[in-house]
Subunit: 394 residues, 2 copies
């Protein structure tokens, strides 16, 4: 039986076993450019096509669609923009509510705000780190009523237009029961798959279940385009519309400028897409390396008292984007000392995001009981996860 | 005395004199990468810093501020994002009206919509192609009233929060009287300087007069970062806030994630800023080449009947971003034939943007008499303007 507290030294030892940190500062997640990045970017510069037109955007969209198995991918400037457009095209309107996890990156909540809608915070499941479907179903049974145009929050009088689960640190949320909930309550499912490129749930890539889904290729993600994201959808008409609205809604014409709706300048520049094409070619290798790294962490932490290395949920294959330690509840007072010691020794670690429900601009938004998310917020620590750290061990 | 109609052949001859178009298709505006683009982008890839952190973003912001003489520049994903943030930080609120030219690119109007505000369309001055200050002052005298919190449109009851003149095709609008109008009517001035990097009004760079101003570095602009823009301001507190709100409004902390307002993921990636640094170094050369090209056009079109090559307004030094022909009013029936002939011969030309007031989503927005903008819309044709076309003639 484990003793109730952990020693910080035992965590440092476990990290050092895996990381051999005599190589200077170890970041949480660094990109790796070991493929055709150089060739493709040079091709952009030589052709003069660095911007909104160019073959790499088309190719990257096709490659992302082929990789994820989702019919259409539309490349955009970042994951936040992708989420914003997913919500708009799902029909989220000003004054609606959108269910999102309290434990998520700020982009999920901000994108809801951009639509003039109100985030409504859902609790997490410790098995997935994502939205707890069973707790959510019970909650919606209590607080909602069905009207002709959808599901309404009886307390606020607002329509609940969408549910946006997020695949936390790349670990797929339990999608099947969430799909059921969305059908039963007439709520649109959108996947925030910003962190889960390369993660599969029951054999399908994340982003397959949402009416629309969002990917991110920020510099800290599994692959990067500098800044970038993509909208995924299996609905061809929504795919066409996503391309249209992210490219200023211009009606194609040889010279005339006509736009048929308020559109966005969200297109990914060609030079960034060139990076993306090269990065995507290397994704299988990155994923093997990241799984190897996670496996080494799992071994190294197996006998560390008071702490658990989080592993992929049942039915899922995770990209292990950010490796995660969970402290036992009675060890949480040591979290900041652990963060301090590791960062001082050049091993970057960080806690979970502050729960969205605690941020000043969202503190009056509706929320369910968030006790699991609150517990995870106290107990969670991310540790270095770059693919390069696992290469040679894959 | 000129005859009343022009011959399309005479226009083709004038264009061919300048362009020697035996070199394949001549685009309207192509970027030129003849400097350190390669070196700086490689430095990004080698360092792993392609994304939101990295020295090129800081350097590009410093270089843009130094070049324009405006105190602070904040690099963002594109000119539309820059305009959006300018409006937000100027206090434009949902339900406000914002005065913008009817003759502008869609971004000006879209950015107003993103704030939940309503574009209010102003007429143009044929001397600058931008907002006509004298007509605007008379119009505001008629339709507005002052209240304690600003200028109100008596017809709609909405506050007129801002005026956003745009420096059309790089030609500075007549700023002094617009500054006066904004002071007299308590309206905030924001410059849409997306097209006018390198353009000066009475000795100062455009973007100097607005409380905030927006630049663009899209692929078709005088310099490019692939996709990019910048917010300019002489107000240090607004500059700090612009950086904060475009970087998710995160409060700096070694590991904690706290955000104090609804922010945006608008930061320019480092790899794009690297391109920008290299491009900005070449800007003086691009500007000389573009002026040389404009001068050759001016000569070539001097004797073409029914058409006038537009030259920089008095008191201004223009970047001649897009060179512009103005057809005489009695020649407008020939415009489409001219567009057809030139494009068929591989010389790209295009008309003005459709007036914003004609687009379906803005057709019910308030507007003043737009007779000059309507005339310019019928008569205006842009012709090839890349810096490369003027090199060797500078």
């Amino acid at each position: 039986m484990k003793p109730p507290f952990f020693s910080i030294q035992s965590v440092l030892d476990a990290l050092q076993t895996v990381l051999h940190p005599n190589t200077g500062f170890i970041a949480l997640h660094e990109p790796r450019f070991a493929g055709e990045e150089w060739t493709y970017v040079k091709e952009c510069l030589n052709s003069g096509w660095v911007s909104s037109v160019g073959k790499f955007v088309d190719r990257f969209e096709e490659d992302v669609a082929a990789y994820t198995g989702v019919k259409r991918a539309v490349a955009v400037v970042n994951g936040t923009a992708a989420l914003h457009v997913c919500l708009l095209l799902a029909g989220v309107k000003s004054g609606d509510e959108v269910l999102i996890p309290a434990l998520t990156f700020i982009a999920t909540a901000n994108a809801v705000s951009y639509c003039g809608a109100v985030p409504h915070f859902a609790d997490s499941d410790e098995a997935t780190l994502g939205v707890d479907p069973h707790k959510l179903a019970e909650y919606l049974d209590m607080i909602t009523e069905q009207r002709s145009d959808g599901c309404y929050n009886r307390h606020t009088g607002r329509r609940i237009a969408a549910l946006v689960p997020m695949h936390t640190f790349g670990h797929p949320v339990d999608l099947d029961p969430l799909v059921d909930i969305c059908q039963r309550f007439s709520i649109t499912l959108i996947e925030d798959a910003a962190e889960s490129l390369g993660s599969y749930y029951k054999g399908h890539h994340t982003g397959h279940w949402g009416l629309l889904s969002a990917l991110s290729f920020n510099g800290n993600k599994t692959i990067t385009t500098g800044g970038g994201g993509a909208i995924l959808t299996n609905d061809e008409e929504l795919g066409r519309l996503a391309k249209h609205i992210t490219t200023t809604a211009k009606i194609p014409h040889r010279w005339e400028f006509n736009h048929d709706m308020v559109g966005y300048n969200y297109r990914m520049p060609n030079v960034n897409a060139a990076l993306g094409c090269a990065q995507l070619e290397q994704l299988p290798g990155f994923l093997s390396a990241k799984r190897a790294l996670a496996e080494r962490y799992r071994h190294a932490f197996a006998d560390v008292a008071g702490i658990r290395f989080f592993t992929e949920p049942t039915c899922s294959r995770s990209n292990y984007w950010l490796n995660t330690l969970l402290l036992d509840e009675d060890c949480v007072e040591q979290r900041d000392a652990l963060l301090q010691s590791t960062n001082e020794r050049g091993i970057m670690t960080r806690p979970a995001w502050n729960l969205m429900s605690r941020l000043s601009m969202f503190s009056s938004c509706p929320k369910m009981d968030l006790s699991v998310a609150e517990s995870l917020e106290r107990r969670l620590v991310n540790i270095p996860s770059s693919a390069a750290l696992g290469i040679g061990h894959a």
